[in-house]
Structure formats: C-alpha cells, structure tokens
Amino acid sequence: MKLKWTSYPYIVWMAIFIIVPLLLILFFSVTSEDVFRLGEFQFTLDNFKRFMSPIYLKVLGRSITLALQSTAICFLLGYPMAMIISKAEVKKRNAMILLFVVPMWMNFLLRTYAWLTLLGKNGLINYIIKSLGFEPLNLIYNNKAILLGMVYNFLPFMVLPIYSVLIKIDNSLIEAAEDLGASKLEVFTRIILPLSIPGVVSGFTMVFMPAVSTFVISSLLGGGKYMLIGNLVEQQFLWSGDWNFGSAISIVMMIFILISMAIMAKFDEDKKGGSLW
C-alpha cells in the first residue's frame, strides 16, 4: 500500500491509540493471570465461558433490548423530524439543524445530569405538575428515564443522516411521481422512503452502537438499578479488578457490534448512507 509520507503520523497515532489497545484487550481476554504479572500468563477461554452463564447473558439480552427500543423510538421520532427540516426553506433549515447540534457541543455527562434536575421528585417537571394540583410523577431512576436519556442523547445521530439523504433527493423525482398519479402518501412510500433507506440504516447504526454499550445513562438516570453490559464491563475494571473478564466481555460486545454493522451494510450496499463508519 503506497502511502504519502504525510500519512505516517496518522498511522503511528492509530497504531498507538487504537490498534495496540485493541490487541491488549484481546490478549487480556484470553489470559487468566493478574494483569500486572504479565510474565506468568496462560491462555484460556475461561473468561468467555464465564460470560456464557445465564446471569451475564441476561444482562447482554437486556442491553440489546433496551438499545433496540431506543433505536426504534429514535427512528419514529427522528424520521418525521428529518422530513420536516428537509422541507423547510434553507434559512430556517440551518437554524433547525443548529438547534439539534448545539446541545452536542456540551459535555455528554453534563447533559445527562441536567435531566436529574428536570425529572427528580422535586424537579422542575414535578414542580409544575404539583402546582397544577396533581400528584407528582415517578419520572426518574427507572427504565423510562433511561430510555429518555438514550433517546435524548442519540436522537441527533438518527436525524442528521436521514436529513442529509432526504435533502439530496431530487425534487423532480417527487414531481415526477405526482405527475404520474401518486398521491402524497404514495409518493412517500414508493419514492421517498425507499430512497432514504441508506440514511435510515446509517442512523440505526449510529444510534444502536452507543446505545448498546452505554453505562453512564443507566447509572445516572436508572439509579443504578439496571445493570447493562456497559456497567458490567465498568464493574470489572473499576471494582473487581478482573481485567481479564472485563476484556472478554468487551470482546463479546465488539463482535456483536461488528455483526450488526455487517447486517446494516447489506442494506446500504451502495454506500449512499453518508455514515460515519
């Protein structure tokens, strides 16, 4: 592979910060000794075997289910939003996109914390509800709060790819379909929707992946009551000190994500999705 000399710094960067850590994790996952006694290791698949027990598979299943739910909600909310923005006039469009993007300039953790002040028992929403005379709602530290946090954080990742594909759809295609007798609904189902599939696929991928591996949102908004696969990995590394097991779980997650990416890629064979990866 012929490379320009200017690309060498990037290769070095990639090697140090991406490839080496990946290899390390792979190494830890198949060994069993204390990570600090690197000299005396032995290869084993025990870590993977341990993961195959019901409790851990349950956690994996839960994480995937939750990720699928939040992806679905993001899609149901995000597609119409993308459509609305794409139909607006150019000046308004950019303002609307900005509305989506600006929150992302703020730290992810802080944004999630902000929900605590909104959703708490004495938070803003309940304050309004109570002053209207109703019973306060249980909005936080449950499954719904986690879903809310995930949708809130990941919605832009669904809207933006779909939007970018929708605006590329030539308006004359829509006029041609109308000209040939298609009603507005038929135009949507036969022309717009099929042509927007690459964007949808890309949106799915960009939401599902972080959703399945999240641990912050489940910790903060779920009140620590919902252990997801990300939390499990965190637990291994930060508390139990079992880096080998933690690495094995990480490898399982990575394989899983690679499989889902491969499935998604089949839908977008022409690479029209404009996805980030």
Binding site: D170, S172, L173, E175, A176, A177, E178, D179, L180, G181, A182, S183, E186, R190, I191, P194, L195
Partner: protein
Amino acid sequence: MEKNIIIDLKNVYKKYDDLEVLKNINFYIRKNEFLTLLGPSGCGKTTTLRIIGGFEQPTSGEIIFEGKNIINIPPYERPINTVFQKYALFPHMNVFDNIAFGLKIKKLSKKTIEEKVKNILKMVNLSGFENRSIESLSGGQQQRIAIARALVNEPKVLLLDEPLGALDLKLRKEMQMELKNIQKSLGITFIYVTHDQEEALTMSDTIVVMDSGEIQQIGTPVDIYNEPKNAFVAKFIGESNIIEGIIHEDFVVEFENIMFDCVDRGFEKKEEIDVVIRPEDLIIENFEEAKLKGKVISVTFKGVHYEMLIESDNFLWKVHSTTMAPVNSLVGLSVLPENIHVMKKVR
C-alpha cells in the same frame, strides 16, 4: 369558441415575492397539436408549463381544461403527464418499474401492465430493456424511457420541459423527428418548452414566443419566421438584420437613405419603424448597379452557405449567400420587396 380547444389559459399572472414572472398570459391549445413555448431563459415558459402541469399555482388566472378550471386540482389528478428536463427517472427502480409506475398507481392488472410496457418500449425502440437499471442507460436511452414512462399512461396532454437539452446535436435531431412522429401517431396534444428556435421551428404546429413573462407572438413556424411582429421575435427567431427606417406610405419604406418597395401597409405616414431583413434574403449584386452598397468585412464558411459581414454607410449587414465575395471587396446588396418586413417600433 373553437370546439377543438383542449386547454385555455386565461389571464394567468404569477408573482414571486416582488418579481412578476408571468404577466397576463392568454392563449389556447388545440387538441392533438404540437405547441411549443419558445423563449430565452427566464422568460416564463417553464413556469407556464409547470402551472399547466399543476406543480405551481398562478397568483391569479384560470386554466380551463376541456371546459373546467383545473387550478385547484393537484398534479396527480390531472390527465396530464410530464417529461422532465433531467428525466427524473427513479434510480431505485429498473426500467420496467419506472415505466409501470403510473400504471401501478392506477391499479391495473399485472398482465395489462406488462403488455402496455412492452408496447411502449417498442414504440421508443428500446424493446428488451425491461430489466435494465437506470444507471446503465445512456442519455438518449434515459430520455426515451422518460418519454415512455409518461406516454404509457395515455394522457390527454403531454408536457415536455426542454427534454432534448442534454443530448448531442445528432441525437437531438434524431429525437426531434421521433418525437414528432410519436405525437402524430398517438394523436396526443404535446406542449413543448425550449429555448432553441430551430427545434421549435422544426417540430411545432404552433409556436408561442415569450419574453419577460409576456407573449410576444403566437403563430405557425412559417408565420413567425416570415412575419415577426416585433424586434424581439425577429431577433430571436432566425437571424435578422434590424435597421431603423421610416415608412413613407403604404408599400414604400426608406432606410439607409434609400427608398425601397415593400409589401407592408397600415402604418401612419412617415412613421418611424424597424425594418427586418433575413440574412439569406440579401442578394449579392454587382457594385455599380446596386442601390445599397457596402464593403465586405468578414467571410465565414458555414457549410450550407457563406456568412458575410458587409459594412454599408450606416449599418453592418449580415448576409448568408452561396455566392462568395472576398474580404475588402466592394459589393452591392439587393432584396425582394416581400422579404422586407416592417415592424412597429418597440416603445
């Protein structure tokens, strides 16, 4: 009221913000005729077409289709189909599905659809192309598929928005002939938009010349070519020499300080007018005997004729002739009275 009229545009007016795009458009289209809207970019011809198609709404005015005002009817309910400038073929469908699109919307039976598609492909000389993808087609093929897709729905009127613009010259000329033939054989009314006056002259039964949102002239190709109503039409259609003159009385006009016999009447005595003479109507004469004299400035060989620029006392004449006069030679020019066109001056 002519029973033959299929579409009648009455007082169509269109304004975008502060820009008047169409001012007082009035004309009618007869059944089964090939009518062309001709004009330069921005004259409003495409807007007019889109209003007929239903893709735009006029600010005021009516579109009467077979006696009914269809202003408020959306495109998908009008018995009109369009061939778009960039074809607008659906990239995610193959040729068959593109053509069958309108038929599927109408919920025709599978067998009927297959048959109709087959026939229309035959008509545009693309039999067997059913399973091809759109990307694999050449420009000319895509164009014909676009036409097929529109025609297969057997519309009463077909709108064509500069469909041949992207094709090379030879293909364009072939397609012009094909389109004309299809129109004649199917008996469908065609409304065609183009800025290419030659194309308009070749294909149309009626030409509507437009400029700046107004109709300049309506007529047959021969009428428009031979009797342009004003300087704009004269300049736009064919090539012209336009020179100022005075019409002294009926059939007598003066320009270049020379009196000429002409065939125009109905002007005021000594009215200032514009005279239009086509380059091919100027005849190269002997210098000594001619009324109008000049010197040849340039000569260009155009294959069919020579194009010469000849400078007289007051004017630079463009002359198309098979007779060649070399550069710097002194020549005379003459013109037959019926080829001198007198037009009212544009205020």
